[in-house]
Symmetry: C2
Subunit: 210 residues, 2 copies
């Protein structure tokens, strides 16, 4: 293995190990040596890549932000009945699925709780909130919404998805797609215009990339 390739792998293993331990024990309690030992690398290698725990947390946050970005941009249904509203449903499913299986994404949301030197840029909660706002505004422009107030819909979708994610930390069933499908089954007949409703799938349509 070339030296550079090995360095990339080591860096990746350290970020994964840090995410796992931050997520399990909390940023403050995790030691650098626990991170390096879990990644199977020396303390020296860790310090070569990351000067501090805060630097590792920043790397976890960046990796999580990239994954989040892939999730919200991956799902692009072709223009049709349901358009941006179906995209909102699909993306919420992809996000909760991601939080269920991707420890880096999960740690990225946890680190948004102020641990590890937050305050650098938007956190993932804010990005999710902003993304939902745009999706709802688009759905309104596309004539997919009934007479609901867009702000009410944004608050409800952000609240419920963040709640399912938080509850998933206690009991993974909250992250299952059936929970989110219940939510959308309840909501869609209220929020979708009559013609849009016929084309909507509460369980989401999986994109290739997720």
């Amino acid at each position: 293995m070339a030296k550079q390739e090995r360095a990339v792998r080591t860096r990746k293993a350290l970020i994964e190990s840090a995410a796992e331990l931050f997520s399990r024990d909390g940023f403050e309690l995790v030691s650098l040596s626990a991170i390096s030992s879990r990644a199977g690398v020396s303390n020296g290698a860790l310090h070569f890549h990351f000067p501090s725990k805060a630097a590792l947390a920043a790397a976890v946050r960046d990796a999580a932000a990239q994954r989040f970005g892939r999730i919200v941009s991956a799902e692009r249904p072709p223009p049709q009945l349901g358009g941006s509203l179906q995209a909102l449903v699909d993306t919420s499913h992809a996000l909760l699925r991601g939080l269920g299986h991707d420890v880096i994404l999960r740690a990225g949301f946890d680190l948004a709780d102020g641990a590890g030197g937050a305050g650098r840029g938007e956190d993932l909660y804010q990005r999710w909130h902003a993304w939902v706002e745009v999706a709802v505004a688009r759905s309104a422009r596309e004539g997919l919404l009934s007479d609901v107030a867009p702000r009410d819909l944004v608050a409800t979708v952000v609240g419920a998805t963040v709640g399912f994610a938080a509850l998933g930390g206690h009991d993974v069933r909250w992250l299952s797609s059936s929970t989110l499908t219940r939510f959308w089954s309840l909501l869609l007949p209220r929020i979708a215009s009559a013609p849009a409703l016929r084309g909507l799938v509460a369980g989401g349509r999986r994109a290739e990339a997720s």
Copy 2:
């Protein structure tokens, strides 16, 4: 002040101080001496009341459970249009209001995250979930619900309220009554039967006791 009264006060101050610090810094990071010093009592007094930090966490959890119990039993609208469904709306408002101003209640929910020796009995999330289930079942029996599936409604209400609480840790506006009113304004026309809907108040009706 009688000796016994002083002891009760000291115990209360220690629980309040512990709740404040657990909530701000997390259970693991808080030291017993920080708790006693914030409460304005000696380490000896702390140890007289609580043999360990876990014992303090248990006391915080018990105090939070009592407050939670008062919230869910306080709001009893007289039988009328809206009955148990209005009670659900009112109680969700009282809970979020409580989480906004009552650090012991907040710490009780935080400690449910597994810190400080969880696993002793139900946590507050589970109690809230169970309470919502009962309220929804009652609403169904009272003929207040439209044709929605009760389980969908339970998942949505628990998810959204827990989400607003979690988001409130980042930005207190999520705990404001206007956020929850948005949620209920969106939901009620979908979930309430036509006659019930006329009597329902999305903003909640405040009970004397809250």
